[in-house]
Assembly symmetry: C2
Homo-oligomer: 337 residues x 2
């Protein structure tokens, strides 16, 4: 009753452990009769193979590490779910961890996952341990999501949303509505996503003749968190000449900004228009529904899974980059000037 191993099955079936193993993995000559006996014994004893032992021997754990910046962000959950849906069919499990954008946490989790011998890593990098990640990337398959691995020498894939394009389109949308004084609520400029979204904003502004330099006055550099969004909106509110519009570079910050807006009774879009990058869960039910630029996290997750499985199967693949084009979903958070 307690702890039945392959040995017990072998004894019970009157065969060697090798034979039992062969039946379990059915990948070698075993006569039908013996196989039947073994199957019988397995079900009688309720034997279930010890995956830990198997992992040790096979040097493969059939588990994948997923390291995202914020597990509270529904966007990542959707993505992880899509990944799981696919890889679980091949027997893989996910260990999902949240770095909270902390260098230390990320490193600690990376080390933990490595010692747990994960077969592959799916990483939304903080950008602060990228040298380490580069090292990893030549030991195990790595697929980066949304944020590029900074260091050269990285060996792996990237599944990204076209941040420049998305931010460009959001900005253009505001410009088309007549806005010229636009507040930009940036994400972390230390990660590619943050920089590129800002670049997309700059590009659109430049096209209407507005130079957005480093000391652009209508700007708040946040770190993609709810709190940063709240603070960013507060920074907007403190300005003497409040911009008529605001572009927020991710969903969490947008929620934070909306909370500020809500609690301070700011009328949208009369006093301020707001647009945002990335999907927000249940936005259809919000009283203020910002227009958003977004790529489908399920689709992205599907691609991540696909690349990962390929990379696990065949080594020596070149780096690949899959870039999704964000779509604009028009809301009610912006008005014509």
């Amino acid at each position: 009753m307690e702890k039945v191993t392959i040995k017990d099955v072998a004894k019970h079936a009157g065969v060697s452990v090798a034979t039992v193993s062969r039946v379990v993995n059915n990948n070698y000559y075993v006569s039908p009769e013996v196989a039947r006996t073994v199957v019988q014994a397995i079900s009688e004893l309720k034997y279930v193979p010890n995956l830990v032992a198997r992992s040790l021997k096979k040097d493969a754990t059939f588990s994948l590490g997923v390291l995202v910046s914020d597990i509270t962000n529904n966007y990542f959950i959707e993505m992880a779910k899509a990944v799981e849906d696919i890889v679980s069919k091949q027997g893989y499990s996910l260990i999902v961890c949240s770095t909270e954008n902390s260098r230390k946490r990320e490193l600690a989790y990376l080390e933990l996952l490595i010692s747990r011998k994960i077969d592959g890593l799916i990483l939304n990098t903080t950008g602060e341990n990228d040298e380490y990640v580069v090292g990893l990337s030549r030991k195990i398959p790595v697929v980066a999501i949304n944020r590029k691995i900074k260091d050269t020498g990285f060996r792996g894939d990237l599944v990204d949303s076209n941040s420049i394009q998305g931010a460009y389109e959001l900005t253009t949308h505001l410009l088309d509505l007549g806005h010229r004084k636009i507040f930009v609520l940036n994400g972390s400029l230390s990660v590619s996503t943050g920089r590129e979204r800002f670049a997309g904003f700059q590009k659109a502004m430049r096209e209407v003749g507005i130079k957005v330099t480093d000391n652009y006055p209508y700007r708040y550099d946040g770190n993609f968190t709810l709190e940063a969004g709240y603070q960013g909106a507060a920074a907007w509110a403190r300005l003497a000449d409040r911009p008529t519009a605001m572009i927020v570079m991710n969903n969490m910050m947008t929620v934070g900004a909306l909370k500020y807006i809500q609690t301070h009774g700011i009328r949208v879009p009369e006093e301020m228009s707001i647009v945002s990058y990335e999907r927000i869960e249940n936005i259809e039910l919000f009283s203020v529904q910002p227009t958003i630029a977004a790529s489908d996290p399920s689709l992205m997750g599907g691609k991540v899974a696909e690349l990962m499985l390929e990379r696990i199967q065949s080594s020596g693949l070149n780096n690949r980059e899959i870039v999704f084009q964000p779509k604009l979903l028009i809301g009610n958070g912006e008005g014509r000037i």
Copy 2:
């Protein structure tokens, strides 16, 4: 460079593997000088212990299975996060899986987790494999969340929200506002949560002299999903004599119902008042903000972690039940009749 094991470290440091192991686990006599050499060797070779091998030997994987009905439900994410925060300090990792309330999926995950040799199971049961779970519960520590394990013989803990009380208070709240025709949007009656919330509703109704029998006309039995919520609201809408209020038994269904309400232009609370069980993420930003009864998932998760760690450490504990009292958070989704 590739794959450095304890043997390599031993050789490099000129000691036996046993000594290296002792240094790594520092739980046995090792002279300071030798220890220093070993530490040196470890860092030079960048040795990291293989947790798979350790698990096999120690018969402990330091990983916990978390099986919830719906990983898309922020409520469970918050809870899982709280659990992780605590158990990770003791070196435990979480494998989180989503059953989608499917018997088959739950069973498959249970078997997978067992063969992965998890040290403990945290389970939001579907109620359909409870005999199996009872069996498990006498092999590894099990902590149930929100839903009771049906079968007798279960050996483990339960962390729950007082469903009867929560539903009772929500109903009473509506009754106090003058409502008498109240539509009830039930969750799965096959799980304790669903049954108890319904019972709480019945109790409150009985107190004002209304018998809610099995063929109560204002009722829809859903299964805690978004889709069920949508359908439930549709069922309400189809009634000739629409009840003036609706009580929805979990957050996902409430979101579904709100979506129906939104897309069909039903005015809240003029045409219908709505109250709900469990927190909804970002409800502050909704245009309709139902009053909710909820227990704090972080607090509950903290308790779950605590019970689990205790159960891992000492065997032979009695079953424990921790019941959180839900609090009413008043919104704007209901009106006086």
